[in-house]
Every structure is written in C-alpha cells, then in structure tokens.
Point group: C2
Chain length 196, copies 2
C-alpha cells in the first residue's frame, strides 16, 4: 500500500508539473491569429497529425509510438523554454534540455522515467523511422500555420524563400516526402516562385 | 495522384479545422491560475494521464486506444461548445454534439471519418473498459485542478461536498477506483470532512 501510494503520488506529481507546458508560448500564431500557440496545445495538434497522416510517412511507423513521442517532445520546455526555428540559437539549449529531461521525467517512478527519457532522446536523435516522421510533422505543422496565416513567423522574422526551403525542407522530406511535395508548392506560391 | 491529393487534402482540411479547439475555453483554470484552460491543451493533458496512469485502470485497457479517444473526445466542441459539469445543462447539447461529430469527422476521408466517429461514440457511450477509464480521467483531471487551486470551479459555482461526491465519484470510481480513493481523501480534506 505504501509503495503504491508513493508510485501514484510520483505519477501525479509529474502530471501536475507538466501543466506548465500550457504557459510556454511559441512563435507561431493560431490559425485565427487571435494569439500565439502554446506548447501543450501544439503537442495535442501534432499527435493528431501523426495519427491522421501516418500513411504518408517515409517508411512504416508505429503510430502509437509516434503519438507518444509527440505528446512529450516539448515537455523539456517547462524548464528550458521554447527555442524558435528562426530565433538566435542559444548555444547551451541542448544542455539545458538534457538537464530538464532528467529533472522532469525523473519525477516519475523509475520505469516510466526511463521510458519517457528514452523516447524523448530517440526523438531528439532523429535516427529512427518513428522519430524522423515525428520531426517531419514538427516542421510541417508550423509551416502550414505560416501558409494559412499569410506568412506567420516568416513575416515576423523576414525569412526568405530560400531560408524556408533550407530550414524546413530536409526534415519534412526525410520523414514525409508527400507532405514536402505539398508544402513546397504552398511555399513557392506564397513567395510567388515557381516550385522547384 | 488525383485521388492521393484529394485524400491528403481532406486530412489537412480536418487538421486545420480542429485548430479551433484551442479557442474553446473550459471552466477550469490552469494550475498557476493565470487563465482558464482550453479544450486542446486539456486533451493533451488527459492523453498524458491515460498513458501514465493506465496501471490504475479498473480493468485492462488498450493505452493507445484510450490516448486516441482522449485526443478526440472534445473535438465536437469546435461546433457545439464546452458543456461545464456545474453549468445548466443545455437540453439539446447531445444533439448538437452528434451534428458536430458528423460535420467535423466527416471532413476526413471515409475510412478515417468512420474510425473517429466510432471511437468518439464509444467514449460517449461509456460502456467499454477503455471508455470507462477515459471518462474517469476526464473527471479526475478537473477535480485535481480544483484541489490544487484552492477550489477552482467549485468555489466559482458554490458546489458542495455532497455535490462533488455525486458528480465526480461514480465515473472516477467505475473507471479507476484507486484514483477515486486518492480523490476522495483530497475532497474530504478540502471540505474539512472525514473521508467516508
């Protein structure tokens, strides 16, 4: 009984702590442009992308694993903050995220802590099929937002056509080539270029 | 190619449409009380609850299915709005949600539309083990918020100890008795009662 109580208490403590992901504000707006998106609702949306677009992954993926990976991919931001794609990159961001992963996932009982840290590392490493698809979606969703909000973060940060291709293209094409075909056409049209 | 394009376009159209779940505001606050929670981030949080608390379900559950169920359980609110537990119940809410499910999930290609409608109906019906666990979490998470924010929606709506037991107890106890044991103790302490 004492052990069960402690086990459950640790799980609940983690679930309370990650409530703060709802207050981490991203660079991207909502599609209705009413405000910026936060990392918790972004994670929900990406999980839906993974489930519904899995047929377009570059290779066979385990949908349930990709969904879980995307549910937790940004949890380190509770401690480390968001690191926008077009922002100046903080040199110690990776180290801050490592420490955040240890502290946050470490709130869980050992078995779950290991499972979540391992899945988060797999996402970060981007070597497996599952993580490459997850990373493709993590690039594709903000690109879609920018297209459907008349520029979004590209307008905010004066990002060029070439920079968009360079910053979004490789990850999306690697994990979901059919999505990159669609995205490329959108981007070309957005910047009044012919798709290449 | 034409068929693929149309299939992908429908999936993307649905994924754009559900962005609006981020603007559906619930009665519950965030744990830091800075604002109310929205239904998209609530769905993310519940999916995390399902994954991490599945060992405490009343009977064996398929975690991946419960996660999917909780990712979509509130999507009908994009059209039908939120229906707070302590609010006056709109007589036609169930009908509005049925129409919303048809319209929203109907944006998807037929196979996916059927899958999501069927999973949403299973959640609403609350007859299966998976849906009973999902429903238990959908009651437990706002209860936890109220406990850790000094009353939350109970304070707002002058909800009594007896009403809390009656409105949260059956669903939580049915799907996750160990969570109800914890919740009951919290609630008794919150209302300065002895746990019964």
């Amino acid at each position: 009984m004492g052990e069960t109580t402690n086990d459950l208490a640790r799980r609940l403590s983690f679930l309370r702590e990650i409530d703060r992901l709802k207050t981490v504000v991203r660079a991207s707006p909502l599609l209705d442009r009413s405000r910026k998106e936060n990392s918790a609702e972004h994670s929900w949306h990406l999980s839906m992308y993974a489930w519904l677009l899995a047929d377009y992954a570059a290779s066979d993926v385990d949908v349930a694993r990709v969904v879980k990976m995307l549910l937790i991919h940004d949890i380190v931001e509770v401690d480390a903050g968001d690191s926008p794609i077009h922002g100046a990159s903080a040199g110690d961001q990776a180290e801050k995220e490592q420490r955040a992963a240890q502290r946050l996932f470490g709130l869980l009982p050992a078995g779950q802590a290991e499972e979540l840290i391992s899945l988060w590392r797999e996402f970060e490493d981007g070597q497996s099929s599952d993580s490459q698809f997850a990373k493709a979606l993590d690039r594709f969703q903000p690109l879609l937002i920018n297209i459907f909000t008349g520029g979004g973060t590209w307008a905010d940060s004066r990002v060029s056509y070439e920079q968009v291709l360079e910053r979004y293209g490789p990850a999306i094409e690697r994990g979901a080539p059919a999505l990159w075909a669609v995205a490329q056409a959108w981007v070309a049209s957005h910047f009044n270029r012919e798709s290449r």
